[in-house]
Amino acid sequence: MADPTAQMGLHMGKSAFDAGQQYLESNMNRWVNVASLKHYFNVSNSYVVSKLRLVLFPWWHRPWSRTQHLSHNGGQDFGVYAPPREDINSPDMYIPLMALVTYILFSTLLAGLRRTFHPELFGLTATTALVVVFLEIAIIRLAMYLLSINNESQLLDLVAYSGYKFVGVILTLLLSEIANRGGGSGGWVGWGVFIYTFAANGFFLLRSLKYVLLPDTSPNTNSGQAYTASRSHRQRRTQFLFIYSFPLQFLFMWILTRDSVPTAVLTGSK
């Protein structure tokens, strides 16, 4: 590359390209914080397998707290949560995202097998699922405001926690479809798997959201505020946690596993 003109031109081109890239990214960073989003996708094979097992069989798992690294930044150290690759208890966004997409594609596939497919079904299923997630986040945020829970947990953490139920929903749809041979998701097998995955999901949320919703009562926390919550306050929070983990999840999971066509039409009986 001996030619100086071409070299200069290439250099100009490269710096123009870099400037454009930076402009694009600074605009992107106003809306979406890519660096923190990457934290949620920093997963590995073993993490995903263990996490799926944890969502479906949470009964025997022992420590549920997330590990923290201490990082020193500008003189003060604060805790930074470990990425999902290193910490099984950390919520990630890979599983919820893939579970959501699989749920949409799978329920559309089931509709195709029942010959009730129409292209709007993609949009319908996607909207239903997203509305469910949105409602859950809204309810948790409202409760955090009303019960004055001062927790600065990230929004994406809550989205991740509410996305784990799709794993159970997909399992319910799959197993009931196999067992009922296309007759919908009712019947013994369908309801049995549904109740089991609902219970597992409820237990998982109970244990995980404890750290989000309930105040940290250990004496050696290094959070700045030292507040004393009254006993009824704490009781109310625990009650909300329970209501959120069980009845609400029952409602939402039932919405997601509904058949779109009543089974009487499918089996031909009137």
Partner: protein, 293 residues
């Protein structure tokens, strides 16, 4: 390499006007375009910029607006129908950046399931091969009776965009960004997995499905045999594309996670292939005969 003449006066302001070319006749070597030169030097990170700008500079010689004047075209009606151009002009394919050797190498690494993926295999991500494969897929489906070009474009565009988004989030930030300063944003979004490279990988790895659609012209795919062949093709596509993505994005221990959305993507194409082949009327007949609604 052709010499470009500089204007003799060099002002204080850096010359924003381009040179007046009065280049001498010199034969073109194999390293004429900057694109080729950079490729042979093995620069990986600037490959993206080079394809845009290197080719342009290679075409500059001789465009001085004065025909037949200096070192230019031969005149006369015989030369007008000939294919010679200016002296020292690189061949057309080289100028366009279509490198058949690279295309062949990438295709062979897709077809050979035992090959190890080189990390720099996608440094010159070209879209010529992928576009060819997608068009072949569409044409084979056309020959078997169904016109699905719209679905291929739509699914291809939407799928490749979302797959690029997910994989660039999953890929670790590049080493140069990690070592760069803390107080300025590392360029997380683009890293080593640019959209061009990602689309290129997706397009190359659809080759087994192209073969399946070729088979589907003659043999109906709705049968058990057809399902087996299509599933085999989908898993082959997924296997090779997950290997390529993990190599290009420098991802470690993530291969199964990368393979899952790719399996969904190629699975949708496979469904297109199954329900387009010659025997697809069989499914409809079975459906309407069994359940009168």
């Amino acid at each position: 390499m052709a010499q470009y003449g500089y204007p003799p006066q060099q002002q204080a302001t850096p010359n924003l006007q381009f040179y007046q070319s009065s280049y001498s006749q010199q034969p073109v070597s194999g390293h004429s375009t900057p694109f080729q030169a950079y490729n042979n030097a093995g620069a990986s990170s600037s490959g993206y910029a080079n394809t845009g700008f290197g080719g342009g500079f290679g075409a500059q010689p001789g465009v001085s607006g004065r025909m037949g004047d200096q070192g230019g075209l031969r005149t006369g009606w015989l030369a007008a129908f000939g294919t010679e151009g200016y002296d020292g002009e690189p061949p057309l394919l080289e100028e366009l950046g279509v490198n058949f050797g690279h295309i062949k190498m990438k295709t062979l690494s897709v077809l050979n399931p035992l090959a190890r993926m080189d990390q720099h295999i996608m440094d010159d991500a070209d879209l010529a091969g992928p576009v060819l494969f997608f068009l072949l897929f569409g044409f084979f489906l056309l020959f078997s009776g169904k016109v699905h070009f719209g679905y291929i474009y739509g699914l291809g565009a939407l799928g490749s965009l979302s797959l690029w988004g997910v994989f660039s989030l999953m890929a670790p930030p590049t080493v140069s960004d990690a070592s760069s300063t803390q107080h300025e944003h590392p360029s997380n979004l683009l890293s080593t997995l640019t959209f061009g490279r990602s689309t290129s990988v997706l397009g190359y790895c659809i080759l087994p499905l192209v073969f399946t659609s070729l088979v589907g012209i003659a043999v109906p795919m709705d049968t058990f045999f057809g399902y087996i062949i299509t599933s085999l093709a989908i898993s082959w596509c997924t296997y090779s594309s997950s290997a390529m993505f993990c190599a290009v994005g420098r991802m470690s221990q993530m291969r199964v996670l990368v393979a899952y959305p790719l399996a969904l993507f190629y699975g949708l194409f496979g469904i297109m292939a199954i329900f387009s082949s010659r025997g697809s009327g069989v499914l409809e007949a079975k459906a309407t005969a069994g359940h009168p609604i």
